[in-house]
């Protein structure tokens, strides 16, 4: 295990960013945290989580796929892919770190493989950070995630004085090797972990019961009458999907700039009325079906396809950001209720 005094964290950031682009969570003028490239003077956000998840760095909201150059009646096709540079993300929480596993199964391993995503994943080094102060909206524990023991290429912890680092992968080793760090005892972060676990034991959502969900539950849950009442309040905005670290749907659109057309993909939301709209119409005609789709996908369909892995990580972003406070916890509790 390695460590650095908190007072010297800027040195560490400088050292990393001298070699690669370093993303750290920073508060903007409105106090909203987001991962942005480190530059001297930037302070790491003290928020538990960024507004948008760290998935943006692998799967950005908008990304050009292919360009078409127009000259009269001639069209030239131009590959929009550009070579990505290696980068480091610092301060990813345990929940977001899990979300990468979930996205990998869709974009990295499953066919067709997403070359844009793969390149970014390959060229990134993820430094996670344990959560010293989990909040009431956190329920990562329900998915077997321990905020005291975050994954990633490097895991990090902090106490009052220092940051502690442990490399989990070769990429992680390589990153730490070149940095101005001191050695620390292997149990140096144990006190921090213990404190964190004391708090997680008090979290109000720690006992969230997922036993009703998982692979093979489609028949049982699909026609539950509760979907109708739960979805009644849903406004049909895309907030939950856009702040979600595991939502992965996108749409492909063209921008016709006159002499050039850009074909790009952009996040889409299953909560939208025009999601996967076809010439015959909308396969999920009302908000009930759309709402059900989102939660069934997270809790049943995805686990069906991926050995029981839920595609929710309990980060709690949707609990905080839903305009009308309808969220996956309410769905789990209502649908999962003994009847």
């Amino acid at each position: 295990m390695k460590k650095i005094s908190k007072a010297k964290i800027d040195e560490l950031f400088k050292a990393i960013s001298a070699k690669e682009t370093l993303y750290i969570p920073v508060d903007d003028s409105e106090g909203q945290a987001a991962f942005i490239p480190y530059a001297e003077g930037l302070k790491m956000s003290e928020d538990l989580n960024t507004v948008r998840s760290a998935k943006d760095l692998f799967f950005p909201q908008v990304e050009s796929l292919v360009n078409f150059k127009m000259d009269g009646k001639h069209i030239e096709i131009i590959d929009a892919a550009t070579e990505k540079k290696p980068f480091v993300i610092f301060g990813v929480r345990a929940c977001d770190a899990r979300s990468f596993d979930i996205l990998d199964r869709v974009f990295y391993y499953a066919e067709p493989k997403d070359s844009f995503y793969i390149e970014r994943r390959d060229k990134s080094t993820v430094v996670t950070l344990a959560c010293n102060a989990p909040e009431e909206t956190c329920f990562c524990g329900a998915f077997g995630i321990d905020p005291a023991e975050p994954a990633g290429d490097v895991s990090a912890w902090q106490d009052g004085e220092s940051f502690f680092f442990k490399a989990n992968t070769e990429k992680g080793e390589a990153l730490l090797a070149g940095l101005p760090l001191e050695d620390a005892a292997d149990d140096a972060a144990d006190k921090v972990k213990e404190d964190i676990r004391k708090i997680t034991a008090m979290l109000p959502l720690k006992d969230l019961d997922l036993s009703k969900f998982g692979p093979g539950k489609t028949q049982e849950l699909f026609n539950d009458p509760a979907w109708a009442t739960l979805s009644e309040s849903c406004l049909g905005c895309g907030t939950c999907t856009f702040v979600c670290p595991t939502c992965q749907c996108f749409d492909i659109r063209d921008f016709d700039g006159g002499k050039e057309i850009r074909r790009y993909r952009c996040w889409d939301s299953c909560m939208y009325s025009d999601f996967t709209q076809m010439s015959a119409g909308q396969p999920r005609p009302t908000q009930k079906e759309r709402f059900r789709q989102r939660f069934m996908h997270k809790l049943v369909y995805y686990p069906d396809m991926h050995e029981g892995l839920f595609s929710c990580v309990g980060c709690g972003r949707c609990l905080r950001k839903c305009p009308i406070h309808m969220n996956i916890v309410k769905v789990i509790k209502t649908i999962g209720e003994e009847k």
Binding site: Q61, P204, L205, T229, L235, F255, Y264, C266
Partner: protein, 325 residues
């Protein structure tokens, strides 16, 4: 207040005046109330909550609810009331199917303000006079209620419920000196470069989640132009700076004169973009150029953008207004 409202809701259901009640349903943590339709007194007893977190403007739900079988009871706060009337003017809700109970209101709280005050892990909030007693997993905290108010409540423009079948509490008055344009004026006083920088820093955070649009009672279009592939401007993400600007300018323009300034757009923005400042700019301009106008304050008036006088100011007035050159 909650007890009186619950009693009224149950009474309306039991007397058969209505067969449904639109209200706020308890969540996990006291603050996360969800709009819901209650059909039995038992549900109301169990889950109906009216608290300082009942800020959500319920009027938009009435578009669908008022078209269903039977009558629905709705509890209308003053700011909801303007939207309620505006939607009636636009023929979007069927008034006969609604039993409207007006609520006197002295301000709603914003969980975001509490969190930004550094109070984390909140599990309960209790109103104790002017103070909020906040239970958290890190121990009990207190906060003055006035510091936790929603922006729209800090600058409350009216405590008057324009249209209801009965009131709970005393109906209040409009307050035109509520200072709600102060922020707009500050921006107007900046240089164009500063304003541009300000709005870029705000709008560049937009993730086009459409929360502002979906929550907005004026944005009640069957299909939004931005979702309609035939409109020529449909977009699913703000794929460039222009599209970020475009969405918010056009949205503000489309609701200009119809926007009641309920502030929901800013309340729900996950990126905390002060979208109400766009709408308020239009409202302020219309007030100054064409006379005071409050959307939803009456049933007859025409919104200023759908009206004119022969002596209106010329567009060139803009060159002489707002900030330096």
């Amino acid at each position: 207040m909650q007890a009186v409202i619950k009693k009224k809701a149950i009474e309306l259901l039991e007397s058969g005046t209505v067969n449904r009640v639109l209200g706020w349903k308890a969540g996990e943590f006291f603050y996360d109330l969800t709009p819901a339709v209650f059909t039995t007194p038992e549900q109301i007893e169990k889950d109906f909550v009216y608290s300082v977190f009942s800020g959500a403007n319920m009027s938009k739900y009435l578009i669908d609810e008022s078209k269903k079988e039977g009558k629905v009871a709705a509890f209308i706060k003053p700011c909801d009331g303007y939207s309620f009337v505006q939607l009636q003017k636009e023929h979007r809700i069927v008034r006969e199917n609604i039993y409207a109970v007006g609520l006197a209101c002295d301000g709603m709280c914003d969980m975001r303000e509490i969190r930004e005050a550094g109070i984390k892990g909140v599990t309960s909030v209790e109103e104790d006079g002017e103070t909020l007693k906040i239970g958290t997993i890190y121990g009990e905290k207190t906060m003055a209620k006035k510091d936790a108010l929603l922006e729209r409540c800090v600058h409350c423009k009216s405590k008057k419920v324009v249209d209801c079948d009965e009131m709970i509490g005393e109906n209040g008055e409009e307050n035109r000196d509520c200072g709600r344009f102060d922020e707009v004026e500050k921006l107007e006083a900046m240089s164009p470069d500063e304003r541009f920088a300000f709005w870029r820093s705000q709008l560049s955070r937009c993730i086009r989640c459409n929360a502002c649009r979906e929550v907005c009672p004026a944005c009640s279009c069957v299909k939004c132009v931005f979702d309609n592939p035939n409109s020529g401007i449909a977009q699913k993400a703000a794929a460039s700076d222009f599209e970020e600007n475009n969405f918010h300018i056009i949205r503000a323009f489309h609701v200009a004169g119809r926007c009641t300034d309920c502030g929901e757009c800013s309340r729900v923005c996950p990126e905390h973009i002060p979208l109400h400042l766009l709408n308020r700019k239009f409202i302020k301009d219309m007030n100054e150029l064409y006379g005071f106008y409050q959307a939803g304050a009456d049933f007859e008036s025409k919104p200023p953008v759908m009206n004119y006088t022969t002596g209106d100011a010329e567009p060139s007035i803009v060159y002489a207004r707002g900030g330096d050159k």
